[in-house]
Amino acid sequence: MKLAGFGAVAVLLALPAVLNKYALTVFIFMFFYAFLGQAWNIVGGYAGQLSAGHAAFVGVGAYAAALLSAQAGLTPWIGMFIGGGLAAVLGTVVGFLGFRFGLRGFYFVLLTVAFAEICRIVALNTDAVGGALGFYITYTGNPWQFQFGDNRVYYYVALALMLGATGIVAWIERSRFGAYLTAIREDENASEALGVNTFKYKMLAMVVSSFLTGVGGTFYAFSLFSLQPNAVFGIPLSVEIIIRPIVGGAGTVLGPILGSFILSPLAEISRNYFAQHGWAGAHLIAYGVLLVSVVLFLPQGAYPAARSLLARWRR
């Protein structure tokens, strides 16, 4: 299994040599959304706390890094950690309110959505960050400003993010942290009775998840060069983030990656189809259908299903 993993990484490293510009972009965002999905996976998959407002963390990280770069001249290579930190602060607030007040399931989902929407509305109405028109980043192509003339650099950065996050999740899974998160997901009260400080571990998961997501915000800002509140804080982005790990297998290391490899081509195809007919954003219909299908037929996600299929086939 390990050999297959190294082989896959080697292939991914070599790919840019043969991909055209369009395919390269598809891969870049495939890796990037896998990264975001992996970050979400920590709190949404392993800890089982369904957050539908993770776009808030992307937005906070993105605006922070962009503003620091434009107004303080701070290189986004440092700005991304500040952005991540601020996102983690927001994550702490949301997590604290949610977990302290015992919000579970549907109530917690609503809380996360409410926070993301509040961020969106505040950004829309704050002229200092561009308001409804958005915030634009001047293109300089300067690597110190996290801008790269060559798309292939973006490719490798995105790949590094994805592999990095995956490494973190793999480590978590093997550690006590991960075992406790899984226990909390399975049965919170039983975990408490076994000595698990459920509040502390849920908070930790939230902080790590929101931090990583915030770091991703910098990549978002400096690859798209424009920040629109509705796009960067909106529900559609939150859906993009959660659908990959859910389809691929929430609470598994490879789930978000597999999910992204399934979703991104699907998204491209349906986006092109709908765009041809003049309906922007309607590719979300495909997401909706996919979500429903996964819940009904593959509730554990594609990866666990594939794994048990493989196990059965081997016998």
């Binding site: 006590r176 406790y180 899984t182 399975e186 049965d187 039983a190 408490e192 009775a193 076994l194």
Partner: protein
Amino acid sequence: MSLLELVRVSKHFGGLQAVNGLSLQMEAGEILGLIGPNGAGKTTAFNLISGFLKPDAGEIRFRGRSLIGLKPHAICLLGLTRTFQLVRPFPHLSVAANVRVGALARHPRSREALARALAVVEQVGLAAKAETPAGSLTLAERKRLELARALATEPTLLLLDEVMAGLTATETEAMVGLIRRINESGVSVLLIEHNMRAVMSLSHRIAVLSFGEKIAEGAPAAVAGHPRVIEAYLGEDYEHAAQA
């Protein structure tokens, strides 16, 4: 200093007084059986002791230390672990992974915890099912798993809530033997049970609850013949049976 001390503990839910001025003492090394009709407040007492509920009045002390206001996980780390009446396995995790969660309380390193967990799994007789997902176990196996998980936290005092409910006669005998062996290895046990034969043969002492109050306490034989106990279980008409 007693191992566990409840001093005039009370808890009410709305208009219902679930536990009323309950005082109880347990010494290290003993098995104390807690019996009483349904609704007597036994599980509420467990919830109060283990930190899932906060008492309205009274004191609860474990090894001299007050447990009031502590969260359940903190109480577990002090050495007091409880099981649940309706078993709560982690359904998607294997038996070994389930027990490992308990073992991690004392052994933070994953590999050590797993080794400890497997030892406990062996001890309760579930070694053959170590890799099976807990969701596919039979009831008797789930009860053993519940016990194993609690045991893995290396408690000084184990609170068992109707751990024999729903078991066949053979399974019950096995469970009784298991609990006795656990006690002999140094773990004190406070158990809620409806199975009279089991609790009478296991316990060193018995306390009887009725309507949230303790109505009798003592050696099993003495308690069994106590008129108030008979009255509580069978009603006033049978009180005279004690004299017989």
